[in-house]
């Protein structure tokens, strides 16, 4: 029997597979597909301090092997999240990661403090990298802003902090180094790539927000490279994200150096995707003679002769 558990920042995940924030709602509809208790961790759609409506439609656009989205993170705000959603996440069983986003350093602090004090979260993920917000500001694309936001949260809460980084930078591994220096316990990469599409029928940008974030298997080789090139530069663990559709894709990220993975867009396509990925990883590791999935982490690095 293969040991699927992994440890990130002192938190043991029963397996290395979790949803990417904002792609999997915990509700009776989803519990009808498979039990969220099977997941390595659960995570909410990013919350802001105050309620937000999100962007005007059209919000999504299909692209080859992927999609663009400009949802704009609709959010019920911190208060309702603490009252309603967080207790539900806590009750499921797996470790709870709470994804937050602030519009200012003070908001980052306030959110982190509140989540820490709730006692219901195991980790906090900082969404420093959504490309679809009205201010157009990506914290993780600016060294100083990234450093200040991570530091502010680390000071505000004892919970381990995950910094979700943006691929819309010259070198994401350098930003991972910045986040580590600021005290992050984990980095997750990548968020979506800034892009756009134009509807040739209307001759207008396809998305209401004009630009959007590209996700799905189309970005996977770029994301795998991000993880691979970051692994040797930092000591903190990496959560690999970007176009994982099958267990093979997830194993690729583990071999590149990710300690855990998140499935995003594929949850829209196949409601059983995460369960299939978990079982597929187990089958692969077992067949390949490993006793723990942890043995896979970073293996591709060792065979890399510079």
């Amino acid at each position: 029997m293969i040991d699927l558990s992994v440890e990130i920042a002192g938190v043991t995940l029963p397996n290395p597979v979790m949803p990417a924030s904002g792609t999997y709602e915990v509700d009776p509809v989803h519990e009808g597909f498979f039990s969220p208790a099977e997941l390595g961790a659960v995570i909410n759609k990013t919350i802001f301090l105050n309620p937000r409506a999100g962007n005007p439609p059209p919000r999504i656009w299909e692209t080859p092997c992927g999609m663009l989205n400009a949802i704009g993170i609709p959010s019920e705000g911190l208060h309702r999240f603490l009252e309603e959603q967080l207790p539900r996440l806590r009750s499921l069983g797996p470790p709870v990661i709470v994804s937050i986003a602030g519009n200012s350093l003070q908001e980052w602090r306030d959110l982190a403090t509140a989540i820490g004090e709730s006692g219901s979260a195991d980790m906090i993920e900082l969404d420093l990298s959504c490309p679809n917000l009205e201010q157009g500001f990506i914290w993780a694309a600016d060294r100083q802003a990234l450093s200040e936001a991570v530091s502010a949260v680390v000071e505000a809460t004892p919970l381990p902090v995950i910094s979700k980084l943006s691929p819309n930078v010259r070198d994401i591994s350098e930003m991972a180094v910045v986040a580590e220096a600021a005290g992050t316990a984990v980095v997750s990469m990548v968020n979506s790539y800034l892009g756009m599409a134009i509807d040739v029928e209307t001759r207008r940008p396809a998305l209401g927000n004009i630009t959007g974030g590209l996700t799905g298997p189309a970005i996977r080789p770029l994301a795998v490279h991000s993880v691979f090139s970051t692994f040797q530069k930092i000591r903190v663990p990496i959560i690999g994200i970007g176009g994982i559709a099958t267990w093979k894709d997830a194993v690729e990220f583990l071999l590149a150096g990710a300690s855990a993975v998140a499935v995003g867009t594929q949850n829209f396509v196949n409601p059983l995707a995460m369960r299939e990925v978990i079982r597929g990883i187990a089958g692969y590791a077992e067949k390949s003679g490993f006793s723990s999935v942890r043995e896979l982490i970073g293996l591709a690095q060792e065979r890399h002769e510079p």
Binding site: R59, P74, N267
Partner: protein, 256 residues
């Protein structure tokens, strides 16, 4: 539910449409009027996303689901080329079923393939003794679809085409106006045209009939996860999701 369904029959209707009959016992046994399915008829990740389709008919006894597809892009072209016996992935039933049948007459004002959205509902109304009036509209006769399904359910079925090639050569809304002058219609459901939706919104506002609109939205999942299919609430308090809160809405509640 997420299931493999078996293709029973693929019938081409004119140049632009496909009538698709699937077998999947559990979804056929639990689908309500107004609900839809997400369908994926190809392996791999290109096209990436499943496609939403109204459940035109469902038969728990036959374990079948009927979909009516307008062939427009790559995904729908792949559906058209399916052979009987092949398997497709379906998620459903999705969306809210119509639950309230406390009315005694209903009109369906539909444009083109929008007719597919109301057949199941018309059946549910008819079986409860509710009088059904159907008004089918299209640019031209070849785009009047689902008539054979709606005809036996309707007390009266009227047709309007823009070019006069079938039925009334003018606006279908004029036919609805005439119907409303002749008799009381408790509810009007519309699908397939923004102009119709706005018209039904006005009927509703003026108290001439209770209006309901079936809406479409670009959606990736149909499950409320992707938040793609947002439609603005009339009261300005944010957005509904077509997949989770709809696909049908009281006409007064949505911004069109």
């Amino acid at each position: 539910m997420y299931r493999s369904a078996t293709v029973i029959e693929v019938q081409q209707v004119g140049r632009e449409y496909v009538d698709l009959l699937l077998r999947e016992p559990e979804i056929a046994g639990t689908s309500g009027p107004g609900q839809f399915l997400m369908v994926r008829a190809w392996p791999g990740v290109d096209p990436m996303l499943p496609r939403p389709f109204d459940i035109v008919q469902c038969s728990p006894r036959e374990q079948t689901l009927r979909l009516f597809v307008k062939v427009e892009g790559r995904g729908t072209a792949l559906l058209k080329s399916l052979a009987p016996g092949s398997e497709v992935k379906v998620t459903g039933p999705l969306g809210q079923p119509v639950r309230d049948f406390t009315f005694s007459s209903v009109a369906f004002l539909v444009r083109g393939a929008g007719a597919a959205a109301v057949v199941h509902l018309a059946q549910s109304c008819r079986s409860r003794g509710i009088e059904v009036y159907s008004i089918l509209s299209a640019t031209t006769a070849s785009r009047i679809v689902c008539r054979d399904y709606l005809q036996p359910l309707s007390t009266e079925l009227l047709i309007a085409t823009d070019d006069g090639s079938q039925g009334y050569g003018g606006l279908a809304t004029e036919l609805l106006d005439q119907l409303l002058e002749r008799r009381t219609i408790d509810r009007v459901y519309t699908c397939g045209s923004r102009r119709f939706a706005r018209y039904v919104q006005r009927l509703d506002r003026e108290g001439r009939s209770a209006g309901f609109v079936f809406l479409e939205g670009l959606m990736a999942c149909g499950l409320g996860d992707c938040h793609g299919c947002a439609v603005r609430k009339k009261d300005g308090s944010g957005y509904y999701l077509v997949c989770r809160d709809g696909p049908h809405f009281p006409a007064g509640e949505v911004e069109l």
